[in-house]
């Protein structure tokens, strides 16, 4: 089927199936699935700038549904989510401006492909190392503190404690996440970096922000998943708008992909209740690698399937 906005031919059933798969990922891992969606659109010959903007639009819809379900399960820290949304919006605009600069230079497809390969590979290697180390140390089970907040262990625990101990004014409390005190700037910086990835590689950049929330801010994995999705609703809406006015969004493709994602997200959210934090992180490892394989394929062949 021809999509005139992005000037591309894509099978709508293919889009529905891709949407369904990344819907499951979104509900289960709290990530937008852009490491699959972006490469999957590239595989069909959609330019990277459209893949990035369209994926952001599709993620708005998907995150609304998944965030609402996580909120029902008590997995959302609203205060943290609102603060992070501010940082992410700034980062998303910076990322979108980078895409515009590459579009003008005429090498958006090559540069974004290489950045995607490096980022997705890095995330997989790091998550594999950390989750295996945590599981081997025998602290792989989530537990509940006396306060009722779910606690899960990470091999990055000492680093997290040091970051939480940095006294850069203003310090804030996050009782829902079980954090006594943390600098506002640390949260904003984590969100800003995630926002740059979101604006540059598309999606909600949960593959960067979710691990950052767990390892840098020390948020329990279940809360990081839900809060990340809540925050993505706000930041991805901004990202969609700014990419749309720059001519990078094919909303028709996004609408078709989203129809499959709705049902996939329901399955993913229910599945999080049956796995402990480190196991969720370990299961995440092969997914960015799949995105890497697709991007390498499009780079080598230079054309779509």
């Amino acid at each position: 089927m021809f999509f005139p906005i992005s000037n591309s031919h894509v099978d709508p059933i293919y889009l529905g199936v891709v949407g369904f798969l990344i819907g499951i990922l979104g509900g289960f891992f709290g990530v937008g699935g852009s490491f699959i969606a972006g490469p999957a659109l590239r595989l069909m010959g959609v330019d990277w700038n459209y893949a990035v903007g369209t994926d952001l639009a599709h993620i708005v819809g998907k995150s609304i549904v998944a965030a609402r379900q996580h909120r029902t399960l008590g997995n959302v820290d609203l205060k943290l989510g609102m603060i992070m949304a501010l940082g992410t919006i700034g980062g998303a605009e910076a990322g979108a401006q980078l895409i515009q600069a590459l579009k003008r230079a005429g090498n958006v497809n090559t540069v974004v492909s290489w950045v995607a390969i490096v980022v997705y590979l890095g995330i997989s290697v790091f998550m594999l190392w950390e989750s295996q180390k945590t599981l081997k140390s025998g602290k792989g089970q989530s537990a509940r503190k006396s306060s009722g907040v779910k606690e899960d262990h990470s091999a990055f625990g000492p680093v997290t404690e040091k970051i939480q101990g940095m006294k850069i004014w203003p310090m804030i409390r996050l009782p829902t996440s079980g954090i006594q005190e943390i600098s506002l700037w640390t949260i904003l910086l984590v969100a800003f970096v995630g926002g740059i990835f979101s604006g540059f590689l598309g999606g909600g950049a949960g593959y960067v922000r979710m691990p950052s929330m767990v390892y840098v801010l020390g948020i329990p994995t279940h809360l990081a998943v839900g809060t990340d999705l809540f925050e993505i609703v706000i930041s991805a809406s901004y990202g969609t708008f700014t990419h749309a006015i720059k001519g990078n969004v094919d909303i028709l493709i996004a609408l078709v992909m989203h129809t499959g994602a709705v049902i996939g997200a329901q399955i993913g959210v229910v599945a999080t209740q049956y796995f402990a934090g480190p196991k969720i992180r370990l299961a995440f490892v092969p997914l960015p690698l799949l995105g890497v394989a697709i991007v390498i394929y499009t780079l080598i062949t230079g054309h779509k399937l």
Partner: protein
Amino acid sequence: MKKDTAKNLRAFAVELAIYSVLVTAYFFLVLHLLGEWLYHLETQHRYTYGGVALLLIAGQAVALDAVTTLLFRFLRGRWR
């Protein structure tokens, strides 16, 4: 427990089938009715296009979620 899982799976399979038919009809309708208009907006009025794109995706999210929730509840009740 196993009986419950089997019921849920059956409800889910039926839901998926009904949902697929509804969604297929829906997106062909959307592509047919809105395609030209959205293309025109995207080329001529980018700010309006940005706002409409957000409204469409958010509206679709809420509507489809309501449909799937209702379907799931109806089918689970039917096989209880």
